[in-house]
Amino acid sequence: MRGTEREARPDSVDESPLLEVSHVVRCFGRGEGSRAALRGVSMRVDKGRCLAVIGGSGSGKTTLAHLLLGLQRADAGAVRYRGALVQGRRSPGYRLLRGESSVVFQNPYASLDPRWDVERLVAEPLMVRLHGKRIDADDRRDMVVGALTQAGLDPASVWGRRPARLSGGQAQRVAIARAIVTQPKLIVADEPMSAIDVAARLQVVHTFAAIRDARPDAAIVIVSHDLGVVQHLADDVLVLHDGTVVEQGPTDRILQDPQHPYTRELVRAASW
């Protein structure tokens, strides 16, 4: 299945990584009660590749996703986006990252402002990124329509609706449209299928597959615990366990020949 769909994707990667994480540590709490969510994680996200981050609950997946986006600061270690350090809001890497990345969260109803309609929700990243520069209303509308269509929605049927009036699958695809409307170089999706029902999940997987194929330049990071989704979408897999990377490599190798006991357990649990 994967081989035939992925012909157009580059097998060899660009030498310099789009995003590089080295020896990152992130702790929550202070003193006695502090708990390390990430204990020295190193990884890289390459241009044009789809990377899946898998692991159980509490393995640090979501924390890693937030770090990749610069939404949280690392307590130790470094995150570099296109070679520039991402550390705090004033760092050059942070600014680059803000302009070129986007995010899809787990629960679409929580990640879309309940008071906004679909048109405004999808247009928001455009308006924010342009920093007040005027954009023609018709152009903006065309871009929103384009993003919604690419996310697999019929713009006319969801236009003007607020999130509460959308189904889970529709809402998540609106969130995806919002993430792709600015044509980002990096898309980070934090468990985008786990808060919606099974039928909608399939739609969202297809949407991601369509985006991956339509945008060969963009890097996609999908945090997931669903190995079926990972097998369908990802080029590479990174396995997180208890805040450390236990295994990483191409999807086929990891899923067919897992080396680490934890990965073996995950694969065995999924094949049940």
Binding site: L112, P114, D142, A156, A175
Partner: protein, 305 residues
């Protein structure tokens, strides 16, 4: 992505900015549909009209009093009778409605400004700011409004400004304290994180996401405060630190008559009735605004038509 290929879809999409006026009209019609809506809008509407009219015309002059007719009963010339100075009750209540309107409006504006500024600091991502402001608000909120007014009245004397500043500061602190938990929840929500990840500034997030989602709580709190301001004006004026003597206000009308309640009860009943009606109407109006704002969040355009 080839956006221009989606051009034909454009015609099928509903229009953008032209619905503002019809939405406003629908909101007013909806609010007038229930008994509470009719009552509160009628009372507040009358109050505003009377306040404006009193600037140009009152049935009798305010200061040309006649001591010979003090406490006289209602008559065709003096519908509500006269007070202890011989002044026409109705004229003073009308003129007082302007003073109270000014006090209520300015206090609510000041409270909203202080409240919003404090909320902005409380949800700020700058390190330390939120904690310091939260502790400061918790400490300041323990000071009663009356005490603030008393302290202000020492250097400035009794004046309308004292009422406005004391109540504005007190209610602004209250507003921030009550709205804080919800504001913090919104500030940590995924949709705010999502806007941050687009590169939105803190001011943008406050204005576009946090305040609109906080508005129902703020509307209720501010409308309660508006009712309380009317009561506070009466109370502070009665204590001698509110509206100064000789300036018409409902509190002043009460203060001048209340000592004679056993002999001339109606001179206290009229201003008391006006204050009660307005306070009840303001509270109901706040509830209606909140209901209207809440349903607006989940309703679509097609549902409202």
């Amino acid at each position: 992505m080839n956006v221009s290929s989606h051009g034909p879809n454009r015609g099928a999409l509903p229009g953008g900015g032209s619905r503002m006026f019809s939405r406003l009209r629908r909101s007013v019609v909806r609010m007038c549909s229930g008994a509470r809506g009719i009552f509160s809008l009628a009372v507040i509407g009358c109050w505003i009209v009377v306040a404006v009219v009193s600037r140009f015309w009152t049935p009798q002059t305010l200061y040309g009093t006649d001591g010979y007719h003090a406490w006289s009963a209602p008559s065709p010339d003096h519908w509500l009778g006269r007070d202890g100075t011989g002044a026409d009750m109705l004229s003073w209540l009308m003129a007082g409605s302007w003073t109270d309107l000014v006090i209520v409006v300015l206090t609510i504006v000041l409270a909203a400004l202080i409240g919003i500024a404090l909320i902005a600091a409380m949800v700020s991502r700058a390190r330390g700011v939120s904690g310091v402001v939260t502790v400061a608000v918790d400490a300041l909120i323990s000071i009663p409004t009356v005490l603030i007014a008393l302290v202000l009245a020492v250097p400035f004397g009794a004046s309308i400004a004292v009422v406005i500043v004391a109540c504005g500061v007190g209610y602004g602190l209250n507003l921030a304290r009550i709205a804080r938990p919800e504001a913090v929840l919104i500030a940590r929500s995924d949709f705010v994180e999502s806007a941050v990840s687009c590169g939105a500034s803190q001011a943008y997030i406050l204005i576009r996401h946090i305040l609109p989602n906080l508005m129902s709580t703020m509307l209720v709190q501010l409308s309660l405060s508006a009712g309380t301001v009317v009561l506070a004006e009466s109370g502070l004026t009665y204590l001698g630190i509110g509206v100064p003597s000789g300036v018409p206000s409902w509190g002043r009308s009460l203060a001048t008559s209340v000592r004679f309640i056993a002999i001339h009860p109606m001179t206290v009943v009229w201003p008391g009735l006006v204050v009660t009606l307005v306070v009840v109407a303001l509270n109901m109006f706040g509830d209606l605004l909140r209901d209207r704002w809440d349903t607006g969040a989940t309703r679509d355009e097609e549902d409202e038509s």
